[in-house]
């Protein structure tokens, strides 16, 4: 009996070694493919334009062509407006993240833990907004925003994104599993509903909040079409707008373009690496619906 088992064991360990190597190779190749464009951006940002599109491409820059970064930060007109634009992106993304978290938590809590007539309908309607293509409402949205006098301001950049359906969905899913007994116990102790929200719900949903905040932040960092329409002055532009404009300018070459792209990516990559546990663990919450 021992003998037979032994043979089987050897066979499986040999098999599993092959599989093991295959998996490593596969993962490493995939990682290379996925990382290559980002690495390309950073290396190309240190090259004179004539080296960027060249056959064959040299992955290690011949020298460090820091001028690209200088040109990117300084701008073609020497106004250094990019710094202000980066700041704008930070402000907008931060405010939107905070308000999204706050309003989503409120609404998600209301939908998860309170029964009221029409709740299902309200939830359906909120979910329905996820299916609205932005292009469809672009012009009416612009009308609303200008009617409120918000064009070319932070408020205009922020207003349409104060909360989103995905956030409400995420928070609702998270709260649904929250034990009712704790809430009832607090009520018996005389806590008001707002108190419950503030002292019990919020402190207990830090992971969900962190995830939502980061995802929202990232989405805002990426937003192009809306800022394009609502903002005109240089001082109010955000990073994607600056990149698109910089690309269209006459003195821009490929090296400088990559430098600008790299500058835009560095802060978010740093945030990503520092907070990776939320990025990586955070996705947990999507599937916390298992209940």
């Amino acid at each position: 009996m021992d003998h037979k088992l032994e043979r089987k064991k050897i066979k499986t360990s040999y098999q599993s070694l092959v599989i093991d190597i295959f998996i490593w190779v596969f993962l490493i190749f995939a990682a290379l493919f996925i990382l290559a464009p980002t690495i390309f951006m950073f290396t190309a940002s240190l090259m004179p334009a004539s080296d960027v599109v060249k056959m064959p491409y040299r992955w290690i820059p011949g020298g460090f062509y820091w001028q690209n970064y200088w040109q990117g930060i300084r701008g073609n007109d020497g106004s250094f407006i990019y710094i202000r634009n980066i700041l704008n992106s930070l402000i907008v993304a931060t405010v939107v993240s905070v308000s999204t978290v706050f309003l989503s938590a409120l609404a998600g809590f209301g939908l998860a833990k309170y029964y009221f007539k029409g709740r299902a309908l309200v939830f359906m309607m909120i979910m329905g907004t996820m299916m609205i293509p932005f292009e469809a409402i672009m012009i009416p949205l612009y009308l609303v925003t200008t009617k409120l006098g918000l064009q070319d301001s932070y408020a205009g950049l922020i207003a349409p994104f104060l909360v989103n359906a995905f956030g409400v969905f995420l928070m609702r899913q998270y709260f649904i599993t929250f034990p009712d007994e704790i809430l009832d116990a607090a009520r018996i102790d005389g806590a008001s509903e707002l108190m419950i929200f503030k002292t019990i719900i919020l402190p207990n949903s830090v992971p969900a909040i962190a995830t939502l905040a980061i995802l929202t932040f990232k989405a805002q960092w990426d937003n192009l079409l809306w800022p394009l329409l609502v903002v005109q002055s240089e001082e109010m532009k955000t990073i994607p707008l600056y990149i698109v404009k910089f690309m269209a300018e006459k003195h821009t070459d490929e090296g400088a373009m990559m430098a600008v792209a790299a500058i835009a990516s560095i802060p978010i990559l740093i945030v990503f690496f520092r907070l990776s546990k939320y990025f990586l663990g955070g996705a947990a919450l999507y599937s916390s619906r298992k209940g």
Binding site: S50, M55, I158, E234, K250
Partner: protein, 424 residues
């Protein structure tokens, strides 16, 4: 959390109050051009000093975005006081009566006729509608062929004598110059300005007697034979033919300045000289580049150079009368410096005076541009010109890249353009 919310409310509040206006504020939206920004900001300062109580807010956007920006703003009745775009895009604003006609008194002219007299004939036609004038030209541009002499000599050609005069020669010369690695072009001879078909490609059809739209404006695609020949030329040019160029390579005009042995010829305007000077002063000074006229087909029935196109300053008709007057006054003030626009920004404002001036004549090869302009006509403009241009683009690219036969591509093109015309 609470604190952050307060901060957030505060931000909204501040940004609203900041928007409150002062005396008269004229908003002026234009495309980004660093050289022009520099001189126009100076004009603004001078104008504001001379007209107390007036502020001019000049904002710029990338040239690719300005069109949609202004369109959305106008759709929401929030357009700027002053704006400019290329005429194909601007024409819809004229026919939809969104503009204020030129106030000749505010602009400092004794009569409307005096404005027409100040400009070379024909250039104000596109902005004349129902007897009113709706714009003043910021720039009028036509394109000729720039040549890098070194690359010509490199393949044993004498640029002064062997430069391509016909499209047939253009193909031969480009083939001689091209360096490939397999199918991939490492050096091109000439390459087209792909998205700009109305400006530089339709004239090629016209050389062979074709026309985009009949004189009565009712029928699209006149003289199919001419169209087919030029479509076939493009098929020859592209990667499925003799592989001389394609829209997906970096555009030739941009590479030309670098003088990096990438491209020998490109199609561009007088303004390119300023950019060569800025990008690569050494090359500019070397005298190793020259400009020659737009080629014609060997059996051309008409000598048609590239069409010229223009940007016109326009004024929003929904603004109060007072704003409109100040806007025209300011535009006229800016446009009273055509020589500075020419020397600093390299753009041509086609006044009679400028075209005859020593400054213009002393610009290298300005004669070549002037001659071509005199023979040419303005680019096709109409309420749907942008759409028509993209339909032409679709047709040419399907022939060049997707292997569609010129006959099929033309049939589709004709049907679609006809539909656009009929829908109005």
């Amino acid at each position: 959390m609470k604190k952050l919310f307060v901060v957030f409310l505060f931000v909204i509040f501040v940004s609203i109050t900041v928007n409150a206006a002062t005396d008269i504020e004229i908003t002026f939206w234009t495309h980004e051009d660093p050289n022009r920004t520099e001189i126009e900001n100076r004009y603004i300062a001078e104008f504001e000093q001379a007209n107390p109580g007036v502020t001019i807010k000049r904002v710029t956007s990338g040239s690719g975005q300005i069109q949609e920006l202004i369109l959305t703003a106008f759709a929401a009745n929030q357009g700027p006081d002053i704006f400019n775009m290329s005429i194909e895009d601007e024409y819809a604003y004229i026919v939809n009566e969104r503009l204020a006609p030129v106030d000749f008194e505010a602009a400092g002219y004794p009569s409307l006729q005096a404005i027409y007299d100040a400009y070379i004939p024909g250039v104000l036609d596109p902005v004349t509608y129902k007897g009113q004038l709706y714009g003043l030209p910021l720039e009028l541009t036509n394109w000729c062929i720039y040549i890098n002499k070194k690359i010509f000599r490199d393949v044993g050609l004498d640029p002064e004598k062997d430069y391509p005069k016909t499209w047939e020669e253009m193909m031969e010369v480009s083939d001689k110059i091209a360096i490939r690695e397999g199918e991939i072009l490492k050096r091109r001879g000439f390459d087209f300005r792909y998205p700009y078909y109305l400006v530089s490609w339709v004239p090629m059809v016209e050389q062979l007697g074709g026309k985009l739209i009949s004189d009565d404006g009712k029928t699209a695609i006149i003289n199919e034979e001419a169209w087919l020949k030029v479509l076939d030329y493009m098929r020859e040019w592209g990667p499925n033919g003799r592989n001389l160029g394609s829209p997906t390579y970096t555009n030739a005009r941009k590479l030309f300045n670098k003088d990096n042995n990438d491209v020998a010829m490109c199609l561009t305007g007088l303004y390119q000289q300023g950019r060569i000077r800025a990008d690569n002063p050494e090359f500019y000074e070397s005298g190793e580049w020259m400009v020659v006229p737009f080629p014609v087909f060997e059996n051309a029935v008409k000598d048609v150079p590239a069409a010229y196109y223009g940007h016109y300053y326009m004024v929003n008709g929904q603004k109060p009368k007072e704003n409109q007057q100040i806007a025209w006054k300011f535009i006229a003030f800016m446009l009273s410096h055509p020589e500075e626009y020419l020397t600093k920004v390299n753009i041509v404002q086609p006044t009679v005076k400028l075209m005859e001036s020593a400054t213009f004549k002393s610009m290298p090869y300005s004669e070549v541009f002037k001659n071509d302009m005199a023979k040419g006509h303005i680019v096709y403009y109409g309420e749907s010109s942008a759409k028509i241009q993209s339909l032409i683009r679709e047709a040419v690219e399907s022939v060049m890249l997707a292997g569609v036969s010129p006959e099929d591509a033309l049939k589709t093109l004709k049907r679609k353009v006809q539909e656009v015309l009929e829908e109005g």
